[in-house]
């Protein structure tokens, strides 16, 4: 939210500097992310008055001026190329060693700071002690200062005091606060909304904008308003303004809009924009003569219904979209954008103002599904309260009167399904203090809630407040506790250590301890713990040669992934470990041993509806160095020994492993994992010059059977006797079988 410092001053007497104000706002919950000083680029520039003009002796298009730069500086000779000059003209004079804005596009490319330094010098042999400036060189436009965009020098108002710092004269002595507003405070998404907080935190009175107007009685036909979807539009305030005139908005309003980055268009449009910035109420103005049957109907769109919005884009609607219609057709996409058919034009004679509350979810859905957004829609998405609808409308009508751009009539409607009775709340001071853990003095509580417009009344331990209409976020005593402590100051809290709480035993449970034990055991054997994303790419399945009907392909799919590469939830960990090995080898890390203990997600049905099974897996990967199949097997065996798991290994197969170098790992009759060398064809496809070995174990099963307690046996009394045997056997006989014989 961007808030000009000068604008805030309309509502509060600000007695502190901009940076002090930022600190105060920070302490009460509004982080000022940035303060931009508008006059930063313009230094040492003053109001000058041209006293005498003589032609340049050596140039046809330059003039030599004597410029009065005020007390202390006096009269200076300044050469200018501008032609809109006259004796007596007041214009900005940049003195020696001053800075202004760079306006030459080529220079701007070289100098991104955008600051141009001015020094005295000679122009075609004539000394010049500074430079006379254009509006452009001060970084201002017509909305900021009248005629600032004129080609040539900026002509200042004759009342401008000679010698005065130019920033004070053209409005550059100002600061734009960029304030971050938390989601619970949509009421602060406006200049006046912030002003309410500023007044409270500075303990200054709040000046409410003038909302007075006189409704002129008219004989014109009434404009009817029907709200057919009160769930999506709890309040709709409409007002008819006639005798609309065009022209331009006054300078003060154009400047306010300019400060917030909005260009002036016409008084009526400017008023709607102004009210959005000032009060936070999105307004819409219809050309009333375009409203068929002088009717407004708020309803859900019919499926297939079409609308062309102000930016000439056509949309086909569904019943999810709320539309504002006249007697026959949609004239606006509610809360998002007006229709082209009822747009305000230069020829518009009468205007129907809309100030409404639309359900934020409805606006969000429409905006997202159609890909159409506006300042209004983003405002509605944050939440607009029913109280502000009337406030915003009154302010707009006051401005119509003040600008004299129309006549406010007595034709108006307020269709309200929302309950507008002020909410009364009773809270116990003791409970508030008990939640905070300190005792806030009663008079502080009263003063704070009073400053925040809660109209508090204390009655013994209980106090009653009336929640301001714009504070939908306050509904229980902890909310009041927060209001109190954020204004009283968090530095009043004194740290305590659960004085009243029961003593509880803490720490890891057996399962968690076991997991840590496994990790530490692998670390002892030189394995580094890895951490990979829980999602991977469908391409990983192809890379791993998983057949079309392979169980690994039955994965949970993210409906809105960041990219296809991160769209499947892992069903096995081997692809991630392989990627780790590949990344390391490509980076020249020729040798490595890693493991990861993480979950895989196994769907119970497709498409997925219920929470899938989350199963813990342990994956190990080794590559390069002297590492081979047996390095990896050694780690698994060590695990088996410490956790008393009688693993058996026999020849096995997996699509991504070398058929001759793959072992199935079992625990009794249950298969608990697989290990082996990466299929050389995959290694070839990846361009790997190192062999990679992978093991993946079902940790959930292992964990349930693992016993990591120490089983002590007394040492044998006698030394072991050993016999050496040499046997000649068949090639097919495995080590394990021969051991059994």
């Amino acid at each position: 939210m961007k808030v000009p410092f000068s604008w805030l001053k309309d509502y509060v007497d600000i007695t502190v500097s901009p940076s002090e104000l930022a600190e105060k706002l920070f302490s009460c919950g509004f982080e000022v992310e940035e303060i931009v000083y508008l006059g930063e680029k313009v230094t040492n520039v003053v109001v000058g008055q041209i006293k005498k003009i003589t032609p340049h002796p050596d140039s046809d298009h330059m003039s030599v001026c004597v410029v009065d730069c005020g007390e202390g500086v006096g009269k200076l000779q300044i050469v200018t190329g501008a032609t809109n000059i006259y004796e007596g003209m007041k214009t900005p004079a940049a003195l020696d060693n001053s800075t202004v804005c760079e306006t030459n596009p080529q220079m701007l490319e070289k100098n991104p700071s955008g600051v141009k330094k001015i020094k005295k010098g000679k122009l075609r042999g004539v000394e010049s002690f500074g430079m006379l400036c254009s509006g452009d060189e001060l970084g201002i436009n017509n909305d900021f200062y009248p005629n600032a965009e004129v080609y040539g020098l900026l002509e200042l108002d004759p009342s401008a005091p000679v010698g005065e710092d130019i920033r004070k004269v053209v409005g550059l002595e100002d600061w734009i606060f960029d304030i971050s507003i938390t989601a619970n405070r949509p009421d602060c998404q406006s200049v006046f909304g912030i002003a309410r907080e500023v007044a409270a935190v500075l303990k200054q009175p709040l000046k409410t904008p003038d909302c007075s107007f006189t409704a002129v009685k008219t004989d014109e036909k009434d404009v009817e308003v029907k709200v057919l979807a009160p769930d999506l539009c709890p309040r709709y305030v409409g007002h008819y303004v006639t005798n609309v005139t065009g022209g331009v908005s006054p300078a003060w309003m154009r400047k306010r809009l300019a400060l917030c980055g909005i260009r002036s268009i016409s008084p009526m449009v400017d008023i709607t924009n102004f009210v959005l910035l000032e009060i936070g109420q999105p307004m819409h103005a219809f050309d009333a003569d375009e409203l068929g049957q002088r009717t407004i109907v708020v309803r859900r769109a019919e499926n297939g219904e079409k609308i062309v919005t102000l930016d000439k884009k056509e949309f086909t609607l569904t019943s999810e979209n709320l539309v504002i219609c006249d007697g026959t057709r949609p004239v606006a996409l509610a809360g998002v954008m007006g229709g082209l058919n009822s747009e305000i034009k230069d020829s518009t004679k009468a205007v129907y103002f809309e100030s409404a509350k639309f359900a934020r979810d409805s606006v969000r859905k429409t905006s997202r599904s159609l890909g159409q957004s506006s300042d209004s829609s983003s405002r509605f998405e944050k939440g607009v309260d029913a109280y502000t609808n009337a406030f915003g409308m009154a302010r707009a009508l006051h401005l119509v009167e003040e600008l004299g751009c129309g006549v406010v009539t007595d034709i108006c409607r307020d269709v309200c399904a929302a309950d507008l009775t002020p909410r009364k709340m009773t809270a116990s001071i003791e409970k508030i203090n008990a939640l905070l853990g300190i005792t806030v003095p009663n008079e502080e509580i009263l003063s704070i809630l009073d400053r925040l417009q809660f109209k508090p009344e204390i009655n013994g331990d209980v106090f009653t407040v009336e929640v301001p209409g714009y504070r939908d976020d306050v509904d229980a005593y902890p909310d009041l506790a927060e209001e109190i402590i954020r204004m009283y100051g968090y530095d009043h809290l004194t740290p305590t250590f659960l004085e009243k709480a029961s003593v509880t035993g803490g720490g890891l449970n057996d399962e968690q301890k076991k997991e840590l034990h496994v990790k530490n055991l692998l670390c002892k054997q030189g394995y580094l713990e890895a951490c990979n994303y829980s999602f991977y790419s469908p391409k990983d399945m192809d890379l791993m040669k998983i057949p079309e009907d392979g169980v690994e392909r039955n994965a949970v799919r993210i409906l809105n992934p960041i990219s296809e590469e991160l769209s499947l939830m892992r069903t096995f960990l081997a692809p991630s470990m392989l990627q780790n090995a590949v990344r390391n080898i490509r980076r020249g890390n020729d040798e490595g041993k890693e493991f990861e203990l993480a979950k895989v997600y196994l769907p119970k049905e497709q498409p997925v509806v219920n929470q899938p099974i989350e199963e813990k897996r342990l994956v190990l990967g080794v590559w390069g160095g002297g590492n081979d199949f047996f390095t990896l097997k050694g780690a698994v065996e060590e695990l088996a020994e410490v956790f008393h798991l009688p693993f058996t290994f026999e020849r096995g197969q997996k699509p991504y492993l070398h058929p001759g170098v793959t072992a199935k790992i079992s625990l009794g009759n249950q298969e608990v994992g697989v290990m082996g060398e990466l299929d050389p064809s995959i290694a070839l496809a990846l361009g790997l010059d190192k062999k990679v070995y992978l093991a993946e174990l079902n940790y959930s099963i292992i964990e349930s059977k693992a016993d990591d307690s120490v089983h002590y046996k007394n040492l044998p009394k006698f030394p072991e006797a050993q016999r050496d045997l040499a046997l000649i056997v068949n090639d097919e006989l495995t080590w394990r079988k021969s051991k059994k014989c």
Binding site: F26, C28, G29, A183, N184, R185, P186, R360, K382, A434, L435, L436, G437, A476, P478, D479, A481, E482, L493, P495, T496, F497, L498, K500, A501, S502, T504, G505, G506, G507, L508, N509, Q512, K519, N520, L522, K524, Q525, L528, E529, A530, C531, Y533, V556, I558, L559, N560, I562, L566, M569, N580, N584, E591, E594, K599, Y601, V608, V609, Q611, E614
Partner: protein, 337 residues
């Protein structure tokens, strides 16, 4: 006979003196023993009365020679050792042979440290599912469907009511539903948000803490966080609370710690403010307690949640979150303990 012994003495003495190695000395000894045996065998030719005297001479001779061998052996061994010492000299500056141990991932290291800090304060560890229902992740945490706070977190959806949990707070509800206060739990784990840049990763880890009991206050939250800051960082680390907003806590606070780099003076790490935003916290919202079947008029509580990656990055000075998930062995090796 005597002459024979005398010859043998001279011969043997010369051999002993000439023996430069243990082997030569050994051979000389063997030879001496053989010769002596031969001499002794001549005894049978002597007259019976001469034999004892001769025997005595031979014995004395044998002993003298053996001690000569022994003396020489000491000298030779000494020489040999000196030679061995010289020849076996090594370059002790060469690298050692190690059993290279591995290392836990920095996220696990920090997670374990956090658990240690809080376990001592009576917190148990709870791990909830990573794929959550909309209810546990949002609705039960006072964030219904149209709530603007849902915009604060970009959620990965798997089905209409199924998502990748965006916060470990989802576990809060499960714990409160399944147990009665007093509750003190820590809930660490993976969380997911649709966000991807130098400071955000679509997957990261959080550590959630929850205390629900009678008479829990905001001051207790501050006290506990102060203890956490002292143990996790330095004893001089300070804690600052400032107002913020989370749907599941009220009041909600943002918690800053004094910058560990500059001690609060202001530096690049803390962007000149002297403070670093580390976690979010607050008093558990009444509605959340109600949703979990805990009477908010009897019990109060606080919750806090922090990003483990953020703490790890602060603690070790890791400047890009992606580094944590690349699993480069040169990175991982640095966290050995």
């Amino acid at each position: 006979m005597k002459q024979k012994i005398e010859n043998l003495r001279l011969e043997t003495e010369a051999a002993i003196a000439g023996a430069e190695s243990g082997r030569a000395l050994y051979e000389a000894k063997m030879k001496f023993q053989a010769s002596l045996k031969e001499v002794m065998s001549g005894m049978k030719d002597l007259a019976k009365e001469e034999r004892p005297a001769f025997g005595k001479i031979v014995n004395e001779f044998k002993q003298t020679m053996e001690s000569a061998f022994e003396e020489r052996a000491i000298v030779v061994r000494q020489k040999e050792m000196e030679e061995k010492y010289r020849s076996e000299q090594i370059d002790v500056t060469m690298p050692g042979k190690r059993v290279v141990s591995g290392a836990l991932h920095p996220i696990t290291v920090v997670k374990n440290e956090l658990i240690d800090v809080f376990a001592g304060m009576g917190f148990k560890v709870f791990e909830g599912p990573e794929i959550e229902t909309d209810y546990y992740n949002f609705t039960a945490l006072n964030t219904p469907k149209d709530h603007p706070a849902r915009d604060m977190q970009d959620t990965f959806y798997l089905a209409e009511n199924l998502l990748l949990r965006t916060q470990t707070s989802a576990g809060q509800v499960r714990v409160m539903e399944s147990g009665k206060p007093p509750i003190k739990i820590l809930s660490p784990g993976r969380v997911f948000r649709s966000d991807d840049d130098a400071t955000h990763s679509p997957m990261f880890h959080q550590m959630e803490g929850l205390v629900v009991d009678k008479g829990i206050t905001l001051c207790d939250l501050q006290g506990m966080l102060a203890e956490f800051a002292r143990k996790m960082f330095t004893s001089s680390t300070k804690v600052r609370l400032r107002p913020s907003y989370f749907p599941f806590t009220e009041p909600s606070v943002e918690v800053d710690l004094s910058c560990s780099e500059c001690g609060g003076k202001g530096c690049r790490l803390c962007k000149g403010t002297g403070w670093i935003e580390v976690l979010g916290a607050g008093m558990v919202n009444r509605r959340v307690l109600e949703n979990c079947g805990v009477d908010p008029d009897v019990y109060t509580g606080f919750a806090f949640g922090m990003g483990i990656e953020r703490i790890a990055m602060l603690k070790y000075g890791v400047n890009n979150i992606k580094t944590l998930f690349e699993n480069d062995v040169r990175f991982l090796k640095q966290f050995k303990d």
